[in-house]
Symmetry: none
Subunit: 244 residues, 2 copies
């Protein structure tokens, strides 16, 4: 695995971080491991000199940071979205540990497609609707006695595992015939799907139960490519013409 | 590997740490990974409330910390001494990465013998005479551009690797909430899908191209569970009622 390729295609996305010191420490952890693309979604207190102090010699990452208001915008161009999560969910999602995550990320980078790794709020992590944007949930093994890792520490562990791709032989590139769909393309698909399910009266948005969550999980698991998304949307359009 | 045994026999030794915040952050990193034996050699500024603040819920490790004046005293009862080191040395020493170090440490713990892992000063690491006390030198892989890890981050990476001795790779299907669909159920789904695609005139069975093959590949990749198959077929039925 080429570390420069990893750096080119992987971004670390910190969602609604409270403490600027953690942003700086995360930047340092990234640069130590050869990563540079730091993205912030609605940080509470940034820029801030505490971030610069904790970043030490990684202040350049703070200078080039991308800041977005919404998670959707931050991950729109990514074909693999990995969300760190400590909690058990009511609807289980595909879960990987940092080592497995690094392998999966390596495969997508080998296809020259974008990856986002999401880290949630210090206090309560990622929200369910954010986790439902993710293809994979990443769980860092911890003690049951004290499972709450500091945010920058979590970034360090994941960045370290990515660094090791440099040393480990990873599985040969999966040869795929089509580019993977981006997060934005998938969200358009899910919107289209929900509209259509509603039109054919299979889905009631006022009583959604877990329908869209389950369908998201199903399709995200498959990591659809762009042609597959086009096929599904073509089918949905044909259904729309029937019902309108 | 029994995590309790690891905790019983492994101590983390911080040598002449300058910043009390790093001591606290190291304590938290240890407790997150199931370690509790923190040892300090001549800390510059300890105890200090900054250490307690950064330790968060690991303040108990600071309360039970052992403080020594000399490294010799700190490691006297240890059978394996591992010293973290970034630098190349004039006299080469056996060097391991964190993963290899965890394996070596595990072997000694299995023999119920003591292990010390040494972390040096923030500014200049361990001195040569301290490194010459070590059986193994531990080098954390880093970027050549910026190789100086924060002290507590280095503790986090090594503690994480020790934790993994105790951890089996996650198997997503083991925690799934629904039984996976059988091949027969999937074939019924694909038949139903093809009929429906034809009814809405998106698919022409006389000119199939690769449509069904691509849809099969998409859904098979996701390994649908039975509830997901039922949802998809419910949607298809709703479309059928519209078109018939």
């Amino acid at each position: 695995m080429d570390m420069n390729a990893l750096d080119q295609y992987v971004k670390v996305v910190l969602v609604e971080t409270s403490h600027p010191g953690n942003i700086g420490a995360a930047a340092r952890a990234m640069k130590n491991m050869g990563l540079s693309r730091l993205v912030l979604v609605s940080p509470e207190d940034f820029p801030n000199e505490k971030a610069v102090f904790r970043a030490a010699s990684a202040a350049d990452l703070l200078a080039s940071v991308e800041v977005y208001e919404t998670l959707d915008d931050a991950i729109a161009d990514c074909s693999l979205v990995v969300g760190t999560s400590a909690r058990e969910r009511r609807i289980p999602w595909p879960v990987v540990d940092p080592r497995q995550a690094a392998q999966e990320i390596g495969k997508v980078v080998n296809q020259k497609q974008g990856v986002a790794i999401l880290f949630g709020r210090e206090s309560k992590g990622l929200k369910n609707e954010e986790l439902h944007q993710c293809h994979l949930h990443l769980n860092i093994p911890t003690s049951e006695v004290y499972s709450s890792l500091n945010l920058a520490m979590a970034v360090q562990v994941v960045a370290y595992e990515l660094r090791l791709l440099n040393h480990d032989a990873i599985e040969p590139t999966e040869v795929w015939d089509q580019p993977l769909a981006t997060s934005e393309e998938l969200n358009h698909l899910f919107d289209h799907l929900e509209t259509t399910l509603t039109e054919v009266k299979f889905h009631d948005p006022d009583n959604p139960r877990q329908l869209m969550t389950r369908l998201r999980r199903l399709f995200l698991r498959a990591r659809p490519d762009q042609m597959e998304v086009n096929i599904l949307r073509g089918f949905l359009k044909a259904v729309n013409q029937l019902s309108r």
